[in-house]
Amino acid sequence: MLNEYVGIAPKGDLILIKRLCEKLRGRDFLHINSTRAGGGVAEILQRMIPLLQELGINARWEVIEGDKRFFDITKKIHNALQGFTEVLTEEMWEYYFYVNKENSSKIELGADAVFIHDPQPAPLVKFRPSKRRGIWFWRCHIDLSNPQKEICDRLMEYYNEYDASVFSVSNFAIGEKSLEFIIPPSIDPLSDKNVELTEKEIEDILSPYNIPLDRPMILQVSRFDRFKDPIGVIKAYRNVKKYNDCILVLAGSPATDDPEGEVVLNEVKEFAADDPDIFILMLPPFSDKVINALQRAATIVLQKSIKEGFGLTVSEAMWKGKPVIGGAVGGIPLQIIHRVTGFLVHSIEGAAFRIRQFLNSPEMIKRMGEAGREHVRENFLITRQIRDYLSLWYYMETGMKSVFEV
């Protein structure tokens, strides 16, 4: 499987993955999360686990089981960690722990390195086998920069039991532990969402949507969520439209865990009124090929968020050679090098201005699009993330020297 990335990912990453796998051959590498499908964590694990197995690592992926009550509680914890106000009763905390305890008896927790992804399975650390002390990492994918304090404090009893933690961006980290590492997430260039498509395939995939592909297309792919500022995107588009011909496509999927989604979607539809050049697409879940085709058909991609997690749609678009205009929040500034691979903006006016700049300079679109693709190739492909996980494991095992050679 690693060979499939030859000529796509940086060769050095593939070499280092191979070398580290030789050093760690036959060792047990366990990942635990709370869902087998859907979401970025599952997408990466689906690919990473078989790839590591092929290279001689005993990689395993386990998923904790829970009922609706459990996932309602963990959703509240998730929201509170992202800064929303939630109330969790003592009973809820006990149930959260109880479900993890039940899972601990079903999952073989013995391994040389264990990655526990996100808060849902975090209490499993209380059940780490005493006979076999592997290295336990808490891999947090969410933004903990402004958490609800009492919820975060409560989770500390688990957090403190881990040997190290891993966050996606520096400002997501808690800053309470001596061993906090920063490893950004990644995209898989071979997945349906990112694989190369021919012009014909793009046309065929998009034909049901009646989008004119012969006009400049501004695209934003995101949930219909106020933090993604879809109304701001429409305002920016209207500002641009005065002097520049273009169409706007807003594409998103319904989020079952977001009751506000429909309200926002209706607001967006109402605000778009009956502008025939605005296309609002509510795509079913797993519409990866459609999103891929839209990103490839777009002239400019926006991610005008006012609050964001990592915002991997930015890397997805850049991988397709598109210049991206993004809000300077969350993980977006890590992906967009301002004026090199796109523009970081702080206002609707800023977004409009940068769209106009691009539409009037095809050379700039080409230059920044190419720089963006290279930036993603170097920094945000799945092979880099696998390389980093293995490097971190090896570093922790071999005396934690700040410089070492393999």
């Binding site: 070499i15 280092l16 400002n171 980290a173 590492f181 300077a328 920094n379 570093y395 410089v403």
Partner: protein
């Protein structure tokens, strides 16, 4: 024989952050040498803009919007110092001198604070060895950016003599001092890694062509 190696960084958080220039300055007095090393010397391993030469200058320029201080911090040559302590003092002095004569810049917006990090560096051979300049010329055009960073930038601190691995090998193994001097004359701050690759390639190509034409 020249063996190409490459390196990567894993970022380690220190948990320290600054919202203002004063906070940045305060942390600079106590933060680890490893953190200063990371934010200055390892800047070139990142995809960076040529406007800046270290993370402190970039943050001051981009997020505090103090272009004068940003220029001054960018103009510090980290290879002019034999220890990180000396470099640290120079950065602090630059900020102090600036504060004496200029108004305080604004605070960073929420989410745009400066986060002090350190790094873990992993070095590994990439399986390419060359014996002469012609082989070197082919290799330099195809190796990863991490290789060029390791041999051209990282070497300057590793060897402690501000020289890079490429010119050292060319001078001492191939006895081509003139070419080595030309490589040493490339300004490391005014190019990104692709720019460095391009310049070294051109210099070596000229030399190989000259060698082939010599009778």
């Amino acid at each position: 024989m020249f063996e190409f190696k490459s390196c990567i960084n894993i970022i380690k958080s220190t948990g320290k952050k600054a919202h203002t220039l004063q906070e940045l300055r305060e942390h600079l007095t106590t933060i680890s040498d490893e953190s200063i090393y990371h934010h200055v010397y390892e800047y070139f391993l990142k995809g960076h803009r040529l406007l800046f030469t270290n993370d402190f200058a970039q943050w001051v320029g981009d997020n505090l919007e103090d272009s004068v201080l940003s220029e001054r911090l960018s103009n510090i040559d980290p290879y002019a110092f034999s220890t990180v302590s000396e470099l640290r003092q120079e950065i602090i002095n630059t900020i102090d001198n600036h504060l004496k004569e200029s108004p305080l810049p604004r605070e960073a917006r929420p989410g745009e604070e400066f986060y002090f990090n350190e790094s873990v560096t992993i070095i590994y051979p990439v399986g390419i060895r060359v014996r002469n300049l012609a082989e070197f010329l082919i290799a330099i055009q195809h190796i990863d950016r991490g290789c060029i960073y390791y041999h051209f930038y990282e070497a300057r601190t590793r060897l402690g003599n501000t020289m890079d691995d490429f010119s050292m090998w060319i001078e001492y193994a191939l006895h081509k001092k003139e070419l080595a001097d030309k490589i040493r004359a490339i300004d490391p701050f005014m190019h990104d890694i692709e720019g460095i690759r391009h310049r070294i390639t051109n210099l070596v190509k000229e030399e190989v062509t000259k060698d082939m034409e010599t009778v």
